[in-house]
């Protein structure tokens, strides 16, 4: 459930923007009032999620401070903190899938957690590589992890950028205000009007006896739905973030004009691709710089991204599929195409090819194996 389409949540966010504007002369309004807002919002939304989030943030803040100041066994502490977080979130997801059960578990704990854990790990990376200089106050650490506009579905904030933002006083110019309101309206329009209407069509066609043309249509249609849905969500988050005085990174940077899959993953859900590139690819590729190693790392990253979406064979297969394609691009030296150095016809034909590969795997995002298999079976029904 996304609260950004909930009428009370939207009212609360707009009210918070108004309060921030009215208190703009108070230098700490952006940090203290946003902290109160984040906590109150979670408390009203779910007491259980509020308590879980408080404990999760405080435990990780203690680990983060320890890592900032630790003089010995830093690497062990760093890797241990990441391992504990990944193991903890993975265990909770298994509880969510009813693979394991416990009376204290509640599905609400998983709300936004897969995004929050990525931000926590980013903070640990920063503490590990920068040390004491990276130390951030608790108030900013809490705001970073629980920032309401991006809490459930990103875009994924970078620790360094967010901390730099907190040091600036609240300042929203008329141009910022206009841009923020326009992004929110655009995002709501995509989600409330376009996605809602297009979903009816998708469901209606899905009910038919699927032939190849139905399946091809459903794939393209679903791709459009996913794009509008997710980019719409990002638009709303970016708009509210801007009105609350924080810069939220873009998640979709003209992904349809990507001539290779490597470039596509820098433009589609860009903050997720950036996160994995920054935290896995960049670290390992220092030690393994050959093309074969880059291909292997691409495979590893895509499998991890697949499992990050969900623990199922469908997402695993999706990760392997994209990993293989990225590995092939690496091995065949086809990872990058510079638009300025090739003809327009070549550039657009490569973009089309990239979209074809993406479209073939897109129905996996439905998260429903029955739906995905039904559509794939239709492809062989002439």
């Amino acid at each position: 459930m996304s609260y950004l389409l909930n009428v009370h949540a939207l009212g609360a966010l707009l009210g918070m923007v108004l309060v921030l504007m009215l208190t703009r002369r108070w230098p700490s309004n952006k940090r203290i009032l946003v902290l109160l807002f984040n906590l109150c919002f979670l408390y009203v939304f779910s007491r259980k999620l509020f308590l879980f989030s408080i404990v999760y943030v405080l435990v990780n803040y203690a680990g983060y401070l320890w890592l900032c100041h630790a003089a010995r066994a830093r690497r062990l502490l760093f890797l241990g903190a990441i391992a504990v977080n990944v193991a903890g979130v993975s265990t909770l997801r298994l509880f969510g899938m009813n693979v394991i059960e416990h009376p204290l578990f509640d599905a609400i704990y998983l709300f936004g957690l897969i995004y929050t854990v990525l931000k926590v790990i980013d903070a640990y990376y920063f503490a590990y590589y920068v040390g004491k200089e990276s130390k951030a106050p608790l108030i900013d650490f809490v705001n970073y992890l629980l920032f309401i506009p991006t809490f459930t579905s990103g875009p994924i904030l970078k620790f360094r950028d967010f901390m730099a933002d907190t040091k600036k006083p609240y300042a929203v110019t008329a141009a910022d205000f206009e841009a923020g309101i326009k992004r929110i309206i655009l995002g709501l329009f995509k989600k409330v009007v376009l996605v809602a209407g297009m979903t009816y069509v998708f469901k209606d066609v899905l009910e038919l006896d699927l032939h190849v043309y139905h399946s091809l249509f459903l794939m393209v249609w679903f791709y459009a739905i996913i794009y509008l849905d997710f980019s719409g969500y990002s638009d709303i988050a970016i708009g509210f973030g801007r009105l609350m005085g924080y810069t939220i990174p873009e998640n979709f940077k003209q992904p349809f004009l990507s001539p290779t899959l490597t470039q596509y993953w820098r433009n589609w859900h860009a903050t997720l691709g950036d996160w994995f590139r920054d935290h896995i690819f960049m670290i390992f590729s220092r030690n393994y710089s050959s093309r074969a190693a880059a291909a292997g790392l691409s495979m590893l990253i895509m499998v991890l991204i697949g499992l990050w979406h969900g623990f199922s064979w469908l997402y695993l297969a999706w990760g392997v599929y994209h990993g293989l394609l990225l590995a092939l691009e690496n091995v065949l030296k086809q990872s990058l195409v510079n638009r300025k150095k090739v003809s327009a016809a070549y550039f657009y034909s490569r973009c089309l090819l990239t979209q074809l590969f993406v479209t073939l795997g897109i129905v996996v995002y439905s998260g429903n194996a029955d739906v995905a298999l039904r559509i794939y079976r239709g492809l062989v029904n002439w």
Partner: protein, 36 residues
């Protein structure tokens, strides 16, 4: 003049989008992935 007309067109487009959002908004907050 061209700038004014462009701005006017922009205002109209966003007003229409907002009106459609207001007409279709349920306020339930269902995330699309749960709809499938």
């Amino acid at each position: 003049m061209a700038g004014f007309l462009r701005k006017l067109a922009e205002v109209i487009v966003y007003a229409v989008m907002l009106a459609l959002v207001a007409a279709c908004f349920t306020g339930n907050g269902l995330f699309i992935y749960e709809g499938f």
